[in-house]
Symmetry: C2
Subunit: 518 residues, 2 copies
């Protein structure tokens, strides 16, 4: 191994040091000649670390024969990864060990047995794009510093808008679906009351928004953060399947109006977090039209079904939305984060609503067309080149390849449902619409018990124990939660094209193996 | 070159295909056996792309003999990078070309002649950490999916709090200083009116905040986004140097009170964007104490001076702040984005203010101590592991190395100031406090003109033309802007330890060369 000593910044080779002394310029006791970083040693370190990353964080991390996680309790792990930040730097050898340990004890979210979150899998094209942007370290606000990535963002947004079915529109990539949802709220209220930008909510009407009780928790966060308040979210009843009931929406709107409040926005969900339910967008759009409300669709999770001719009907009516949040980092594996907020408006609403016209950044006397300096549409200043990774994957596998991934994930989840139905001790909560498969595992000791309070109380304790066991073993990861009066159940998410039928069978076998003594 | 054809997802080698047919499980016409991604081909692609990234985006990008940018106007560039997303994927060979072009036409922000923004330079340790997190693709909300990165975030926050000088505190990494500032506003108003979380601003008092006229434009964005409104930012006069005048702050607070408004927060700036000015924190803290206001310090840019025993006096009084925004991705080169919002409170305010208690993510019946599931402190759901890259750099070069970088950047900027003073045709706007060096270049044709309206009008046009010429030549990048009644001037930012005295001399020579005919 090369570079066993760290190239501390004062190190330069002897010859250079001699030369420098002769012409040295000193200010405040600091020698100003030449760089103080040994780039060659730095590049050697990158090369050495890259080999470890490829082996441990790419190849092994996706190898079904390896563990999905190497569990350590927090207090143990603190010792194992040597967190302390010291006065002096470490050697390259030591740093490589630290990197190895960081990888070792991290969860392998790209592993075929990782079913725990709404993201999973390894897309090599997206990974390359991410390496490129990390190396180039761009910030996406002006064409002068980010020419390629701003054009790529524009192209990706245009294409995503096509898939929504709008004739035109606008959009921006944001750091997460939660922030995208905030954008939608802010745009909607600005559209109705542009003076809000200057005056704020003080002295204005009581703004009320509507979303289903199955919406993502970011709606609560957004309402609080934007000064609307969670009391002014009117939660609309969902049916047993988790879909917003349009008639109930209308009732809530009428209730708000009777109270003298001012409805301004409905947020429908396309792909709820727990059940994977799709609100009936077309009917909700009818209600929004009737009452003149902004329709936002939180399709952070379900939006990717638009790529599939077979499954896009789940989002029928989305073309009537005013705004859509859609995260390609979930089902389409673009890497965290890759989240678009798309809007139908073509009157430069994003810019008008969010601009602050910083004169040091958005000079109007530049030598190129400053309409490409789109950063003032954002509530951020520095912003990452998130569209690029999705763009490269799309280039690599085409629309057809993205479609195939969605179709395959949904076909696999149908297979899993079939197996759950066949197996003793497994009970499906409901037929899925998307790739969230929700089920209970009922251990043998509970199978003959009557489904009364004691049964549910005992069943509630099963999933957490199985989860603990699978993590300590490192064999798989799947989430569980209680939901709407139902005791803890597993929610298995299927995304990755690295996953196969064999992994579905394994997941059920493993849960049975880990839980049959409970 | 290997892998000239793309491993479209339906490709598998012949033998495997034969085997699969025999035991194939079909659902909805999709074969579910085995993965549909050819991981080996994918890994080969990563290897091939990595070589290009190392050569073009790391080595060449930091080589002073190469161009800092390869300018193309938007319409030309669109053709050169083939933006279109098609139905079918491209070959690996073609994808590698696309990657090469994306790198070629991107600005090299790590180049020693990039002085354009508040970030610059190449830190190889941070880069390695970023490659690791991209490969692992974590999301930072629960210990179960991000054990290492959550602990690292905790350790880094603790250490940053030490440098601020608090005895304890809390914090979170956010996607940008703008978002950090929003956090501060939301925390401050929640602290005084916890019911805001539920009730919103409707029917409440008129909240007023104070910041200097030199503050970052994100304060306007934050006030609008959070429903406070830009009219309720009372901008406090700054002195000629760009520093908030504490007496003027007090006047503004009294004015707001006389109007019956409710002051709640003062945002001081430590390192303003254009002039690099530091507000007098200690005196501002006195005023905040007197009126019981939350003191937030936007030290996104200047916070890194805390690493230097020599320069930390610029932030004297920061230990009295209630919250601090500090971006290690700027002066400390951690890579975009790496932004901490730090708060002095130890009563779990972040959690109380932002939590939504999603039961599918923050289950309370987990088998480990759920206090490590810190994601509910955030307004995001998915969140990147931004602390890790700063942690690895800190490990690599130690506090001493970080200090050396700050000292060196400031020493270099003092050298540049000296040279500006010596040279004919260069005029410094003011002595710098930090590494923002603001100056005019006065071409020979204007040097004998009287400093009247015509002179200023002509001088205003000089910087944009020189900027255009340097970009088209690709020799360097430095920003310009008009500011507070002053016509366009250059603002050169010095950060990178790859930069040396020679680059300072070059910058001035080059501006003269490009502008002497104007």
């Amino acid at each position: 191994m090369n570079g066993t000593s760290s190239p501390t910044q004062t190190q330069v080779d002897h010859h250079t040091a001699e030369m420098m002394k002769k012409t040295a310029v000193l200010v405040d006791g600091v020698v100003l000649n030449g760089p103080i970083i040994d780039s060659e040693a730095g590049e050697r370190f990158v090369e050495e670390a890259y080999r470890i990353i490829m082996e441990d964080a790419v190849k092994k991390a996706t190898d079904v024969k390896e563990k999905v996680c190497e569990w350590q309790p927090p207090e143990e792990l603190k010792k194992l990864i040597d967190l302390e930040l010291r006065d002096r730097g470490e050697t390259h050898q030591r740093l490589l060990q630290l990197c190895q340990n960081a990888i070792r004890y991290s969860v392998k979210t790209s592993h075929p047995r990782f079913f725990n979150q709404l993201y999973a899998g390894m897309d090599h094209y997206s990974l390359v794009a991410r390496f490129i942007t990390e190396a180039l370290n761009p910030s996406i606000y002006t064409y002068e510093v980010s020419p390629v990535f701003l054009l790529v963002e524009e192209a990706v947004i245009k294409k995503m808008i096509e898939f929504i079915g709008w004739e035109g529109g606008d959009g921006i990539f944001s750091p997460g679906g939660s922030i995208s949802n905030m954008y939608a709220l802010n745009l909607a209220r600005y559209k109705f009351y542009p003076e809000i930008k200057e005056r704020g909510l003080y002295g204005g009407p009581r703004l009320v928004m509507f979303t289903s009780e199955e919406c993502h928790y970011s709606m609560r966060k957004a309402a609080s953060f934007l000064g609307i308040g969670t009391d002014n979210i009117y939660f609309v009843k969902a049916d047993d399947r988790g879909k917003m009931i349009p008639e109930e929406l209308e009732k809530e709107i009428q209730r708000a109006k009777q109270e003298g409040a001012t409805p301004f926005l409905v947020c429908a969900t396309a792909g709820t977090t727990v059940l994977g339910a799709f609100d009936p967008l077309d009917k909700i759009a009818d209600v929004c039209e009737k009452y003149g409300l902004w329709l936002h669709v939180d399709a952070s999770w379900g939006g990717s079904a638009l790529m599939s001719r077979k499954h896009r009907k789940l989002l029928y009516g989305i073309q009537r939305a005013d705004s859509v949040a859609w995260n390609p980092h979930k089902m389409l594996m673009a890497g965290i984060q890759c989240c678009a907020l798309l809007i139908k408006d073509t009157s430069n609403l994003l810019q008008r609503c969010h601009s602050a016209k910083a004169s040091y950044l958005f000079q109007q006397d530049k030598f190129y067309d400053v309409k490409y300096d789109t950063g003032d549409k954002s509530v951020q200043c520095s912003r990452r080149a998130d569209a690029f990774k999705f763009w490269l994957t799309w280039k690599a596998i085409g629309t057809a390849g993205l479609e195939e991934r969605v179709n395959r994930a949904l076909a696999l989840s149908r297979y899993l449902v079939g197996e759950i139905k066949k197996r003793e001790g497994f009970q499906l909560l409901m037929e899925p619409e998307y790739s969230n498969i929700c089920f209970w595992y009922i251990p043998p000791s509970l199978r003959k018990m009557e489904e009364g309070p004691e049964f549910w109380e005992k069943l509630h304790q099963v999933a957490p124990v199985i989860k603990e066991r699978m993590m300590k073993k490192g064999s798989m990861m799947v989430g569980y939660q209680p939901h709407r009066g139902k005791v803890n159940f597993f929610r298995q998410i299927i995304i990755s094209p690295q996953v196969s039928r064999e992994d579905m069978d394994f997941a059920l076998d493993e849960i049975d193996l880990l839980g049959k003594d409970l």
